[in-house]
Subunit: 271 residues, 2 copies
């Protein structure tokens, strides 16, 4: 409907960055389900000549396994086009010579193969899901509070996400818990970090005003992209809630019913 009122947001688009969970698919038991129409929408978009990248805060899997899961759902996506927090964090750890104490999902651990962790001088939390036990949180807290200068990295800062059986707490709340307990400010790696979006733009070789970000998370996808000078479109799937359309500080350039509708609007304007 919004697209009918104004198509301003699709003018001059040369590239598209897509959030994945809640836009391409809904997560849940067995890896999740594609959102109807999204597999075909990705095909149309990839065949259009526009530059397309995927940008996820997914930290429940290595990037490789994550892309394999998407491929099994029918999405024609290659690993090199997917940007996720763990590889970005690994660069930061190397550059700053840091050794992490990890509180992350078991299935993410392979990303840290070969990383020295014998003398941790920072804590890294991701979407650890069931590993967010009181004991594991206390361990991470114990490392942080024992450091002269506590450093906490959070892989994303999502509030919650939708699985097929309901909404689940994301890493953001646990970041806030440790920030409060240790009186420290976390460094967020992933969306909505400007550094993270800029690394995607560099890879696309496009200017921010030439790119649209499409996501279901108003603050981290839409707001984060807009702060970098991109346009931000929210789809009404995934964690979208109607109240997002009256958010006090973030206003999407458009709302679209789903990815298929967003892609159609972009491709029509591109004709």
């Amino acid at each position: 409907m919004a697209a009918g009122r104004s198509m301003e947001w699709v003018k001059g688009v040369k590239g598209v960055i897509l959030d994945m969970c809640g836009v391409l698919y809904d997560s849940g038991e067995g890896g999740g389900q594609p959102i109807p129409g999204s597999v075909e929408a990705i095909e149309r978009l990839m065949g259009s000549g526009l530059i397309v990248r995927f940008c996820t805060n997914e930290t429940q899997n290595t990037r490789e396994k994550f892309v394999q899961k998407l491929q099994r759902m029918g999405f024609n996506i290659s690993v090199s086009h997917v940007f996720s927090p763990a590889p970005a964090l690994l660069r930061i750890l190397r550059e700053r010579g840091l050794q992490p104490h990890l509180l992350v999902h078991d299935d993410l651990m392979a990303e840290f193969d070969g990383v020295e962790m014998t003398s941790p001088n920072c804590v890294v939390i991701g979407d650890a899901a069931d590993r967010f036990s009181y004991q594991n949180l206390n361990e991470a807290f114990g490392v942080l509070i024992g450091l002269e200068k506590p450093i906490l990295f959070s892989l994303g800062q999502g509030r919650y996400y939708k699985e097929t059986d309901g909404l689940k707490l994301d890493v953001g709340g646990f970041m806030k818990a440790l920030e409060y307990a240790c009186d420290v400010q976390a460094e967020v790696v992933g969306k909505p970090s400007a550094e993270f979006f800029q690394s995607v733009l560099r890879d696309m070789d496009l200017q921010p005003h030439e790119v649209v970000m499409v996501g279901d998370d108003l603050v981290n996808d839409v707001g984060g992209a807009q702060r970098c000078g991109m346009r931000g479109v929210q789809v009404r799937t995934g964690k979208y809630r109607p109240s997002d359309e009256q958010h006090p500080s973030v206003k999407a350039d458009a709302h679209m019913d789903d990815l298929a509708a967003a892609v159609d609007a972009i491709l029509i304007s591109d004709l």
Copy 2:
């Protein structure tokens, strides 16, 4: 040492409010250990004619069981002199006709005997310790996010506390996690809530300027009491950390090495 420099803080004291954990005893396996000299200090204080009350954010036990534990350690304390969050919360639930979803310690559950909980319209969190699992946090989150107007009560807002085997995360971090995930502000019941301190002052029938609060928690004990017009003294036991003496916003009226030293200073001035 601070007492040697200035005894201003003990002048005109008619009543004393004492924090318990970290001041009277250190918690831990088997219920904890009295801090050396504190059993005798309480005896001297109770025999002095000053009005004494105990004010705790303890929510791992009913008030009755908690006082029994202290009595077994040798402290001569009666239940009616102990103020804790759960009874204060029960009054609030009754006054506002609310039904709670509880995420509290198993041993606190008896405080809620007879409370109607079939249609929860608020969430209550206490120091649930090991019950702060991902699953239980998700359940509490699910109740909150499903309410048109989410109401979250937190029994205290401590950052962490000291057990004999180390520092442990207190309820405050989990309060922050749910606040963030649901975009809601918790109502804190217990210290440092002014309402909570004022209920103790009413029971003592004293004015705030006549009362000293002694605690190991700079923000919740000392700062909370000072905001109500009381004097606040921090002891260097329990969760005390040297950096507390350079806190950017809360300045204790005095620091004392332990409860015995604080009581001695108060009683000497009372002679």
